[in-house]
């Protein structure tokens, strides 16, 4: 009881700062890493919504590599399925645990295209032409989806999705592959016409 009495005698100002302290404390504690219990550094969030420092979570995943689960709710978790949280102006702070592997990058998926699906393929007049083209395109469609590459210059013009951001090496490879496919497609079409 003595403690309660003492508190009620505080000035208004004193009470206010107490409240602010309390508020600050609860705000910062909700951004604590669930492993080191400190404010999360290089923060990542799991699909189940639990916050960790990336170095902490990485170490946990290393210890549980055979069956990785979320340290909080035991949901399935993996390196590819955590999302980094990018705050503002925190990049200058040096992290003492920088030697640990880098945080996985953010995953950007492109928005849905505005116009309809591959409108460029409606240019054919005769039914026979469209039929042949369909068969001819099939193996290349398979290749492209398998390698996760775009279809090349022609397909871009036809309004297909722009491939995700790539390194220059990847872009060179892609250009080379698409030109190979293009040549194969032309040869195939010529062969079909000849037969």
């Amino acid at each position: 009881m003595a403690a309660v009495d003492a508190k009620s005698e505080n000035t208004n100002e004193g009470n206010k700062s107490d409240e602010e302290d309390e508020k600050e404390k609860s705000t910062s504690s909700s951004f604590e890493c669930n492993i080191c219990l400190d404010t999360a550094k290089d923060a990542v969030i799991s699909m189940c919504g639990h916050l960790f420092c990336w170095p902490c979570l990485h170490q946990w995943l290393e210890t549980r590599y055979s069956n990785p689960t979320c340290p909080v709710c035991k949901a399935a978790i993996s390196k590819d399925k955590v999302i980094p949280l990018y705050g503002r102006g925190s990049s200058n702070q040096e992290d003492p645990r920088e030697k640990l592997p880098p945080r996985p990058p953010g995953q950007r998926s492109e928005p849905e295209p505005q116009h309809g699906f591959m409108p460029g393929f409606n240019f054919g007049d005769g039914e026979g032409f469209q039929f042949h083209f369909g068969i001819g395109a099939f193996p290349f469609g398979l290749f492209t989806s398998f390698n996760n590459f775009g279809f090349g210059g022609g397909a871009h013009a036809a309004g297909m999705n722009i491939p995700p951001v790539q390194t220059p090496q990847e872009m060179r490879d892609e250009r080379f592959l698409s030109s190979v496919f293009m040549a194969m497609a032309i040869l195939f079409l010529l062969w079909l016409l000849w037969v």
Partner: protein, 199 residues
């Protein structure tokens, strides 16, 4: 000792000290050495169990890889429980082995142990002798566990029959802890207990 382990233990000690449970005298934890590797815990026996009224002391060893590996916990106070060894105090609890998760803390471990006292799992025993008694003769298990709580953990004694039996074995020159173990494991059959001790 890794930095993260020491930081964690410091925070966890604070968490236990600030928690509601400590104010209700249910759980307690303190350092046993200065390098945050060895701790002592205390849990109160939950009410409506044979452990009610007892205080159970625990030894908590923090591994270097904590919190990625679980702490090693064992009972220092002897206890009659299917999932805790009556001889060594070793604990069979999933969260202290495979089911450990890095977000668990000393507070949650102590509360889980308290919950284990309230809900034994005789099908996954640590002490087969205790588990057998639990399955085959629960009333006797309850009385035995209650007597152990009185004997080792400071609970109340409500069983003069058991006291007499222990006393008569003591009169034969047997130590009281030895007498208690023999009687408990022989379902308090005097002859069997004597046979076990002197065979």
């Amino acid at each position: 000792m890794a930095d993260i382990a020491v930081q964690r233990i410091k925070k966890e000690l604070k968490e236990v000290i600030e928690s509601d449970e400590i104010q209700r005298c249910n759980i307690f934890v303190e350092l046993a050495d200065d390098d945050y590797q060895d701790l002592r815990g205390k849990i109160a026996g939950p009410s409506d169990t044979p452990y009610e009224g007892g205080t159970f002391h625990l030894e908590i060893k923090i591994p270097k890889s904590y919190p990625f590996k679980p702490p090693k916990v064992k009972f220092l106070t002897r206890i009659w429980h299917p999932n805790i060894s009556s001889a060594t105090g070793a604990i069979c609890l999933d969260i202290l082995q495979d089911e450990w998760a890095a977000s668990m803390t000393l507070r949650t471990v102590l509360l889980s142990l308290q919950a284990l006292l309230a809900a034994a799992e005789p099908d996954d025993p640590q002490d087969e002798m205790v588990a057998r008694q639990y399955r085959n003769n629960y009333p006797l298990f309850f009385k035995t566990a209650q007597y152990w709580t009185y004997f080792h953990a400071g609970g109340e004694n409500s069983n003069s029959e058991f006291t007499e039996k222990v006393q008569s074995l003591k009169d034969m020159g047997v130590s009281d802890t030895r007498a208690l173990i023999a009687l408990s494991s022989c379902n308090w059959e005097m002859l069997q207990a004597v046979e076990e001790i002197f065979s």
